[in-house]
Subunit: 408 residues, 4 copies
């Protein structure tokens, strides 16, 4: 029965997260970034983050992204979505609630597909927020949006799996607590195209793993998380390091990406709400030509358009989450691709307009707008660029008319 | 609790409407329009319409728009929304199900505000589909989107109310069964600005009522409904013709417009689905440069974008309907304005692209695309142009920040 | 040497055309359309048109589109462009100056490629404005934007050429003075793809030529010109009816289309100026919410954007014309395709906004806006849809980088 | 007489600039930025820049922006425009040719309005490329796009002028050679609004001048030029430091901004050409799903659209330059505002698409795309944001209809 409301228990978590953000996170954000920027070495966890993590954990606002009740509150994807939206309003909130990408996706993978040994060694620590992780899938030399392009290898040699290749945009690899990597590589080129790849759990300090450089995004290294270019040279691990066994990489990737995209999109929606709030505050307080700028030109239209885009993106994301919860990833694939296009583009547009409404200040560090912009810009490429998702969406549309002959 | 599903009873109505449209309406549409266009006088109800009305009524697919169970199935606005979407796929379906504007809105007004005598005389006949009605609010000489501009008068003289003024875009006034009008006029310029106007129920044959001309929309008179310019010259009626008493016009208009906008927007969404379906069929069957045109240029992107816009518009409209159902019109005002902007613009864009994908054929009468285009174009102006709704939406946004000083 | 000015002689023609339009054409336009619409049979030339044609001819404002001095003033394409812009402000002006499509293109074809007999029989009459003509190239059953798709045939049988096939969007075929057709058909499928087609000069009354129906554009038949669907059934003509000999159809089409597109685009720019002027007049004179609507929302931005798009489209079109004049059609192909995309889209956008600024009145016949809209909409499909031109433009861009391997 | 060609002498300069860039600048750019980024202190002039400046000067490719022949080649604005376009393809080229903002504008101001003493002391050194300069107009606390908002003061006290206030976005203030500032401040609030301000020539080392911080643009400090926030506290100078005398600041600003905007816009067009070239190279060389990505989705449309926008922006800028040259700044004001909106927005769009076409690499420092993006983003705010220019353009349009009552 159609209902746009929220269940009482989820509402309570949402309220508590909002309260925590208002009381604990927003007030310290400016000081946090000021301190971080003042440091020579920014690849550190400042004490305030550790304190807030402890507080959030103590308050039970922890691991809320996992639907399995054994690991946390056990909210559905649709319920967690509204919480993810809130955490998207701050760049530091996701880590504080232990709900930060790519750890969230990696924990999901281990919870679903990990062996008991893998869970014991790594999932426990990740759930506790003691260590962090990276996900090495995208490659510099191929258009990785087409998974069949992936050229790094995870070859089986006897009892071992041997990794070779170069990855980049490995988010979080620069974090001082990053100790483990999930690596995707080609194992068997002769298998069915969806059974060729494996995912391997790689301790970051394994010989042969080397972070070659950290990649800037619009000049920003995004410390202390970072996006790394990582080389794997004859990295040898026992076969047991392969998650769920050889050839299941594609399957795991598919399962991992659904909720991960929901999270990203909901955070983008929260980020858009923040940009809109900043834009409105500026528009009603700044004067030009004798009036607050909200009264000038098309500024009210911009605000109205922002509201409409945010509302629509939110509803579509919630629907995708609900489909994931109730019908599974296969049924939700078009919707998940749709939000992956809609939400980042919506955010990019609104942030751009917020920058414009702030004048020169909008481009500086006095406001978080260029950071939000870079976040949006990344999202349009991460986890598949817009173009790939549009192609998929079209494919599903055409399939309604051509059930047997879906165009490639 | 968040739920994007549909209740079983509403689903049943929806299924039956779909079945009826598939079996009874779509198969006769082309012949209907061909016959109509061949007539010298197109202001007629063709027999096939009468027959289908009788069938729909017999099947209980009748007056589904009214939430009050005493008048029909008693579906909520959110439930009816999905049915309105279906009827939006055909230009003749709404009438067949007795769910056609402006009769729907007029019946709602009478059901809510009409006196017993008014109900007995007119609501009964409207519910039965025996007569049709018009709604005379918009005026040629003023920007009617600002209700305080309305210059036509409904002055009280003793026991009578006397109407004077000129209205236009009075939809349905040309229909041969149109027998009654709801007229909005100024009664007391000295009252509070929301208490100055009255709505008056006017039999169309009252002396002084004159249809001056029928207005073309993109050259189309939209027979047999039509959009008229109507003059009222010393039209005298007993005071009892005033709906709910003098000065309540604005209040009634507000209440009338919420559901009416939901209906329009959902029909626009159905229309967009139809345009998208036509576009896809064309794209996969038409060849150029040696390939089906779906494989050329950005055509798949266009289809993907259409899907994303439709989904978002639908969800936003359903949410607005749900808010209307559960929280009332006052709480839903921003959402109602949002869909009033979003849905017609979305439809206009998609139809324009469908025309382009059809080449020259898209502009001709061989496809219903230019009719759909004109419908979309109208909707961006009817019931308040985009600009007025954007302004309202912005006002609600600003009110969050400036609770006491909302800008005009 | 870069110069955006205009030569004195061309300026004089331009001034005279402006004066003629102001004094003779604009004042009678409303009455002309009112009279035409009142007629049962609208496929007529009203006396006022004949009178104005005579006046224009007497004033030497006649056949200004032809660069060859033997046929008229001999203006360059760039010089005539500014005159075409003026005539684009009125739907009847082009005919009055004998500068109406498709006669302009047809006269160019005959002047360049016609035999002396063809010139004597038809070019003379066309130049004199005594007869009118049609151009039958586009076909209903194939995507005609790809000329190699053209399926109608012009087969040589002995001394005769025999035409078969079906054409549509044959503009002007409905005009009572239309007496001659240029037909494009396949002559030799085994020849090089650019040597397969022929253009044939066909008297309209030749047995086998049948106007099957007139096609509406947004419901408008565009009387007395019209766009026809025309069947050719065993139409037999002497071989001498082939223009410039068999197999030269593609070559002639290419040469014909360059100037024709310049003319269309410049008229579109004039039409856009008219729409902008109407929009501004409305915006400063209409009030809502206590102010002229020019002071509301983003209306000034809309006007500024319109000015910027018009200026840019005009400059690009003038540059394309200048290239045609100084470097020939081959050098100007990318520019000609660019204006063919830019100008109609610009016009469509501005007219849409002008409609919106006029409210309901904008959709009616009280203003010429829906006619201008339909004109813009047609232009986006006529002479190659946007998509085909974008593809060509991209091809030229890529050719700079891949000189030998231009993608198809 | 309309002519889109270029005069032989200007063509020669253009060719030489192209050759110089190809042979001297492009080959060292990557190494230059690599070296600069490796430095602890990036506020330096690397030797390669000094060498190339000397070479350019020796080749006569120097001060080409000044139309006055006594200071350089004496090209018109329209002629220099095409050279500015070339220099816009490299971030270091403008300095190498001594054609870098804000020095160009400042030199123009001194050449036109400076006293002999000011010319002798500063113009000579600036023309020689020995020192650099800054322009301090924009203020952090007011919307500086409305010049009447400017709150910094330049008060006359006896024989002195005393400066107070805070400026920001003072471009070039961080350069090690920056020795002089042009400051705009309020001198006489009681004068006519266009006679209240003065421009003052301020040696950077004058007591009371303090660079408070350097402002990042999308996190980039743009070393060694930089954009500073500068405080002026009781900065005392002799009255002779006022350029052209008290109260002429507004007049000078108007004159300064015309050519400056032409330069900026032409560089933006060059930058867009560079982004388009990068985009095409990527599109034809990168594969996904088994094809070069130029064959996927709407990528060819993107390239075609980029070409059309660049061509149009270039022509409009050239026309504005030509108007400045032939009719003066007053006649060119609408055109100058038009290009100020058109060119940066065009650049932003094209760079955004180029980033997308590059995937993750596009956001990193491996390509100059994010730098180009930041440049475009700045330009939409610098020298008046889009909104202010749109408002001005609309004002000129309305003035045609309301000659005496132009809206504010």
């Amino acid at each position: 029965m159609m209902d746009f409301g929220i269940a009482p228990r989820a509402q309570e978590y949402l309220d508590n997260v909002k309260k925590f953000m208002k009381e604990e996170i927003f007030p310290i954000e400016d000081a946090y970034f000021k301190e971080l920027r003042s440091l020579e070495n920014k690849w550190v966890v400042l004490p305030v983050i550790k304190e807030l993590k402890a507080k959030a954990k103590a308050a039970g606002l922890w691991n809320m992204f996992l639907p399995m009740p054994e690991y946390g509150p056990g909210l559905t994807n649709a319920e967690y979505a509204l919480i993810a939206e809130e955490t998207g309003k701050s760049f530091i909130a996701p880590e504080i609630f232990n709900c930060n990408a790519p750890d969230t996706g990696n924990m999901e993978v281990l919870a679903h597909y990990g062996s008991q040994a893998q869970k014991d060694e790594w999932l426990t620590k990740l759930l506790a927020g003691e260590v962090r992780s990276a996900f090495c899938m995208t490659e510099p030399d191929v258009a990785s949006s087409d998974a069949t392009n992936i050229a790094a290898t995870a070859m089986i040699e006897g009892d071992e799996v041997v990794l070779n290749g170069r990855k980049w945009w490995s988010t979080g690899i620069g974090h001082p607590d990053c100790q483990v990597i999930i690596f995707m590589g080609l194992t068997d080129p002769s298998a069915h195209r969806h059974r060729q790849h494996s995912m391997v759990l790689v301790p970051k300090n394994t010989p042969g793993v080397k972070v070659e450089r950290m990649l800037p995004v619009f000049g920003d290294l995004d410390e202390p998380y970072g996006h790394g270019e990582v080389s794997f040279t004859n990295v040898r691990l026992p076969k047991s390091a392969i998650i769920a066994g050889p050839g299941r990489g594609f399957e795991i990737a598919q399962g991992r990406l659904g909720p991960g995209r929901i999270h990203h999109c909901m955070r983008a929606i929260g980020a858009a709400e923040r940009a809109l709030a900043l834009m409105i505050k500026r528009a009603v307080s700044r004067e030009a030509f004798g009036k607050p700028i909200i009264k000038l030109g098309g500024n009210q239209d911009i605000i109205a358009n922002a509201r409409m885009s945010i509302e629509q993106a939110r509803l579509l994301t919630l629907k995708a989450a609900w489909m994931l919860d109730t019908k599974g990833i296969a049924a939700a694939m078009s919707e998940v691709s749709q939000i992956k296009v809609v939400a980042p583009n919506m955010l990019q547009t609104i942030v751009d307009q917020a920058i414009q409404m702030h004048g020169g200040a909008g481009m500086s560090d006095d406001f978080p707008l260029t950071q939000l912009y870079a976040y949006a810009r990344c999202l349009r490429l991460a986890d598949g660029p817009d173009e790939v998702h549009r192609h998929l969406i079209a494919k599903f549309e055409l399939a309604r008319y051509l059930p047997k002959k879906v165009p490639a």
